[in-house]
């Protein structure tokens, strides 16, 4: 039929991990050396949660490979001036020239010292979305490890655009870097904006479709009728940023409008800190000698340590404790005699008492009866007391969950939301049990592959947590080098400002990543303004598009002294680059990655193992495999030995040496791409099969993946908590309260008063604040009038585009356009009529920060006071994308400390004005 000859084709196994919902398995058809088709990997049916299928984005990878705008050779900038309006003047150079130049600079940096005079690393690196670039960057992590300290804090949207509060609090409370419902077992989900059907990936879409067949009811609470709301049983159009009110009211209903026995009293009493007694200063009452938190033993009528065997702690009530201490900030001891105390549960109940559905109705702009009904349905479906057998183990069965989406679980109010939904889970015993609210993976604790193993007993009967130091001795103040414990790792001050984010390899990228950018331009009062890094690596990311106030970010970025961008096509970020390196893309390069077990977004497998991304075709032009590039950088910088040691230690997928096997690479000589991955294949299969099987690269080229069973019971943290006798640190956030007070003291001692609003987040039981009002006040503070910006603007994800790095792909544009609102401004039909806007008219959406223009999509499924701008567009340099003229919310959102919460996150919501510019043609 076509020019391709029959008989010269094969299907090559691969994976797609372009977005965090992956990895998913697929196959690539290669005919006469040309990649022509993508298909699921049907060999994975029955083992992959979506039966070996991949989502729409993967089908765009053919066009991605053959995109005529690809950078085909290394390039060097010839125009020394950088800026949006400066033509970089890129000229082609050879790989030798490019690598020698980069290595030369790196060696010079090493000679001067890996850190600058402020203590910050001289080299910075930014990678995109949620760790997914790691699955395409080959052995680059080994090179980064060999290098030493690096600043990863210049974000490309992390914090602002990810589920930030969920990350940090989720992992803290139940080893849940991200959270999902146990979809295969759940019966009832209240979803506050979680856009599962847009961004949950193939696994979530498949499972939720199956769940609908089983009769699940999902209530989608969000300002517009997203694709997820479309696939839900009910849509509740809540006013933006009022979700905490809804959830507080749900807690109120469960606690005050139902008999106590209808809740999971046993779970609350034994698996949470609900019975812990709270003293007059808001800290736990503790045994004076042991300092263990006290509970009231209802058997003996006395206050005893929480871990007293055979004690039956009272869940609620007010008691009087003869002798106890509170431990306040900086270890201050407050002694008490005959002190009245409430249990933590009672404190929570009292706090939630005013938050009735009638009250919430006013805040949320919803009927009280809807809020009450949803709370009642949640309880009715919770099956308190029921059990289920999982692989021979009898576990609680609680098929209800509350899930949160972006703009709910990040920014102001996010702490309140994540707290509420986790507390709602505990009230019915649905935390980390079949059917309920589950964590998926961890990133701030280790080991990443099995979150259960990260659970270690800590203080007060909870899991050990590694918060950043807030005591006088160890708190990191960039302005005070004398007292550094270790040198600051990043310019976003995550160790200083965000104790809960810890200091693991991922913490930097999770800290307030927009602060790194902001501080480069203007540091807050008394804070030493960071010096730019000497060299900045950029890979699979485009902060100039995917951040807030992209105009400002672009300007700040233009001052980066030397930028090395791994470049697929020209884009808005590599517009500021000094060197462009064309990396071999998805279908052209090789890598082995872990798959299975449990992971975000809804990747709970019954198997775990590894999968190979096999190169289907030769790279276009002079593009090279990242593993080759990493090896060259290591060699030319004199770090080859350290680089191979890092690979041997497991920088890329698994350690190459283990019990009964040794596939380590000789650090003294060079190894090519296939050698490295062959060793990784062998080590991984030896590891997973516990030495029974060793499979090399050739086997993987044929089969694509290697899996061993993963216990279903290991999806749930509850058995581990039970086994270790630990409680979930809920509802009362005593530790965080104390940490907050310490942080406040440290900040004020150092003369920093600009984080004071954020410090208010450190409430032991969160209370309602007028969150929508914060946006109005910020607007007014910037000199605007609220009436001039009468509408809310939010964004939403699109499966065709989100995190696919694929705005330059025509196929995605074409199929994405079938989804209403893509590339447009979604506006309520009545509101549009009032503004004289017809379907397809050009409109301007303006905020105090900027303006964006696009075509209007009139829909019924959106609040009249809200407009929605899907995905992230506004490209001005990326070929193909720049000609689309699609609007973007990122032009409108301010980069603002005022709109940053205590965890360092922000939200994609802004007050805007809309006006018609012209007709549809």
């Amino acid at each position: 039929m076509s020019a391709i000859r029959e008989g010269s084709s094969q299907w090559v196994p691969s994976y797609c991990y372009n977005c965090v919902a992956g990895p998913d398995l697929m196959t690539v058809k290669v005919e006469d050396g040309i990649a022509t088709q993508i298909r699921p990997n049907f060999e994975a049916e029955g083992v992959h949660p979506a039966q070996g299928r991949v989502c729409v984005k993967a089908f765009g990878l053919i066009q991605k490979t053959y995109n005529p705008h690809r950078i085909r050779t290394p390039m060097r900038r010839t125009n020394p001036c950088k800026g949006r309006d400066e033509d970089p003047g890129f000229v082609p150079i050879s790989w030798d020239e490019a690598l020698d130049e980069i290595a030369g600079r790196l060696k010079a940096i090493r000679a001067r010292g890996l850190r600058n005079e402020q203590g910050y690393p001289r080299v910075a690196a930014t990678f995109g979305h949620g760790g997914t670039p790691q699955s395409y960057m080959g052995t680059l992590p080994a090179f980064l490890s060999a290098w030493g300290p690096m600043d990863f804090s210049f974000g490309s949207g992390q914090g602002v655009k990810c589920v930030h509060a969920e990350h940090v609090y989720g992992e803290y409370w139940h080893r849940a870097f991200t959270v999902c419902a146990d979809t295969v077992n759940t019966r009832y989900i209240v979803s506050f904006g979680a856009n599962t059907e847009a961004s949950g990936g193939a696994c979530a879409v498949y499972r939720h479709a199956q769940a609908r067949m089983r009769g699940i009811k999902r209530v989608q609470v969000e300002p517009h009728l997203s694709v997820t709301a479309a696939a839900s049983a009910e849509w509740v159009p809540i006013k933006p940023k009022t979700d905490p009110a809804f959830m507080f009211a749900m807690i109120h209903v469960l606690v005050f409008e139902h008999p106590r026995e209808s809740l999971d009293v046993a779970f609350l009493r034994d698996r949470t800190a609900s019975p812990y007694l709270v003293g007059p200063n808001g800290y736990y009452l503790r045994e004076p000698e042991s300092r263990k938190p006290l509970v009231w033993d209802s058997r003996t009528g006395r206050a005893v340590a929480h871990d007293t065997p055979d004690a039956v702690p009272a869940l609620e009530g007010e008691v009087v404790v003869p002798s106890a201490v509170e431990v306040g900030p900086d270890d201050t001891l407050i002694e008490h005699r005959d002190v009245p105390a409430d249990t933590a549960f009672t404190v929570m109940a009292k706090t939630m008492e005013p938050y009735t559905p009638e009250w919430a109705a006013g805040e949320c702009d919803l009927p009280a009866e809807t809020i009450r009904r949803v709370a009642n349905e949640y309880l009715e479906n919770a099956c308190v007391g029921e059990t289920i057998e999982v692989e021979g183990q009898v576990l609680p069965y609680r098929p209800v969950a509350v899930t949160l989406g972006k703009t709910v679980n990040n920014g102001w109010g996010a702490y309140h939301c994540v707290w509420s939904r986790t507390v709602l889970a505990t009230l019915v015993g649905a935390l980390e049990v079949p059917g309920g609210t589950l964590g998926t993976t961890i990133r701030l604790n280790r080991p990443h592959e099995n979150r259960l193993l990260s659970v270690k007993p800590g203080e007060d009967g909870f899991m050990a947590a590694r918060l950043n130091a807030t005591d006088r001795e160890h708190w990191e103040n960039p302005a005070d080098p004398e007292h550094w414990d270790e040198r600051p790792s990043g310019r976003n001050a995550h160790k200083t400002l965000v104790p809960i984010v810890g200091n693991s390899a991922w913490s930097q990228a999770l800290g307030p990543t927009h602060l790194a950018w902001m501080f480069l331009r203007k540091a807050p009062e008394n804070w030493p303004k960071p010096i730019y890094p000497d060299l900045w690596f950029v890979y699979r990311t485009n902060p100039a598009i995917s951040f807030w106030d992209t105009g400002q970010i672009t300007e700040i970025m233009s001052r980066m002294p030397f930028v090395v961008a791994f470049a697929y096509t020209r884009d808005e970020t590599n517009h500021m680059a000094d060197i462009l390196l064309p990396d071999a893309t998805d279908l052209e390069s090789m890598q082995l990655i872990p798959v299975g077990g449990t992971k975000y977004v809804e990747q709970h497998w019954d198997y775990q193992g590894v999968a190979l991304r096999c190169p289907a075709v030769a790279p276009q032009g002079e593009a090279r495999d990242m593993t080759w590039i990493a090896g060259e950088l290591a060699r030319r910088t004199g770090l080859a030995e350290d680089y191979y040691q890092a690979i041997n230690r497991g920088a890329s997928v698994v350690p190459l040496k283990g019990e009964g096997y040794d596939f380590t690479l000789d650090p003294a000589r060079e190894h090519d791409v296939e050698e490295i991955w062959d060793a990784a294949c062998r080590a991984a299969t030896a590891e997973f099969s516990r030495g029974k099987e060793v499979r090399g690269l050739d086997w993987f080229r044929e089969h694509g993946f290697y899996l061993v069973p993963f216990k279903r019971a290991d999806w749930y943290l509850y058995p581990t908590m039970l086994e270790k006798g630990l409680r979930f640190e809920l509802p009362y956030q005593e530790r965080l309260k104390r940490v907050g007070k310490e942080l406040e003291a440290r900040m004020h001692e150092a003369g920093y008063h600009w984080w004071d609003e954020q410090l208010k987040d450190y409430e032991a039981i969160p209370t309602w604040h007028d969150f929508p009002g914060l946006w109005i006040r910020q607007l007014e503070k910037s000199g605007g009038r609220a009436d001039d910006y009468p509408l809310w603007a939010i964004t939403t994800k699109s499966m065709q585009y989100t995190t696919g790095n694929n705005v330059a792909i025509q196929l995605m544009d074409e199929v994405g356009s079938n989804v209403r609102g893509t590339g447009r401004v979604i506006i309520n039909t009545r509101t549009a009529e009032r503004y004289g806007i017809a379907q397809g008219d050009r409109v301007e959406v303006r905020s105090m920060t900027g303006a964006t223009v696009g075509r209007a999509e009139l829909m019924q499924g959106v609040r009249p006071d809200t407009v929605v701008i899907p995905a992230q567009f506004g490209q001005w340099a990326t070929p193909y994308a720049k000609d689309r003229e699609y609007p973007s919310l990122n032009r409108l959102s301010p980069l603002s400390l005022d709109l940053t919460d205590s965890s360092g996150s922000g939200a994609d919501v802004v007050r805007v004005a809309v006006r018609r510019l012209g007709g549809a043609s």
Partner: protein, 224 residues
């Protein structure tokens, strides 16, 4: 007899366009041509709104309007229900595109490419000049079905005998099979679920069924 048909479960479809893209990649259609596509439909008025995603394409009708009007007999209906187009016979008059009540057909007169710069390597390799100036539409991946059946595979069950859209659907919303076989997947689905066909009043007897609910008795057991 054999009567191939498609069943789309609207309860499952999420409008992701994976099938749209899979079809395009599998069949190398020109930009703008979508043999399979998913429509995004709103019903109701704020706040009482629903949003439905509807996969569509050629419905391979029992009495196809396109076959009736085709002046050259290029459009034909096989015994197994699949409506085919003989690209070498078609004169490209466009009449069938107007007769089809499902807007399933199109004609590409001039080759167009994804990028203004001209055809990419893969577009050049897969370009079939026979496809210019003639009617085209979903074929139920007839070549794949024929090859698969010849190898003893069952369409709709074995991926190598199944249309690309069905293979790719991540919600499992699409099913394909032989309606005349009471044991087939599609026969089961239609027996066990309430369904409709679109634009039935056009009278062509479409071979594309949409599931919208289970049987009455299943729903009655459900709690709030």
């Amino acid at each position: 007899m054999t009567r191939y048909a498609m069943v789309a479960d609207l309860r499952k479809c999420v409008g992701c366009q994976t099938c749209t893209a899979a079809c395009k990649v599998s069949n190398a259609t020109f930009p703008g041509v979508q043999w399979r596509k998913v429509l995004d439909m709103e019903v109701g008025e704020y706040p009482d709104v629903q949003r439905v995603f509807v996969p569509t394409g050629c419905q391979h009708c029992d009495e196809p309007a396109c076959v009736e009007v085709c002046p050259s007999t290029a459009s034909q209906k096989r015994d197994d229900g699949i409506v085919t187009i003989d690209y070498d016979m078609c004169i490209g008059c466009g009449y069938c595109t107007l007769a089809c009540p499902y807007d399933a057909r199109s004609i590409v007169r001039e080759a167009t490419w994804a990028y203004a710069e001209g055809p990419t390597e893969v577009e050049k390799a897969r370009f079939d000049p026979r496809m210019l100036g003639v009617a085209q539409k979903c074929t139920f991946c007839v070549d794949v079905i024929d090859t698969g059946v010849a190898q003893g595979l069952t369409p709709g069950v074995h991926p190598d005998a199944t249309p690309a859209c069905v293979n790719s659907c991540i919600a499992g919303a699409l099913a394909f099979g032989d309606l005349d076989d009471p044991g087939s997947n599609v026969a089961h689905l239609l027996r066990e679920n309430r369904h409709f066909r679109m634009n039935e009043d056009a009278g062509t007897g479409p071979g594309f069924y949409y599931l919208w609910d289970g049987e009455q008795s299943e729903q009655e057991e459900v709690t709030p």
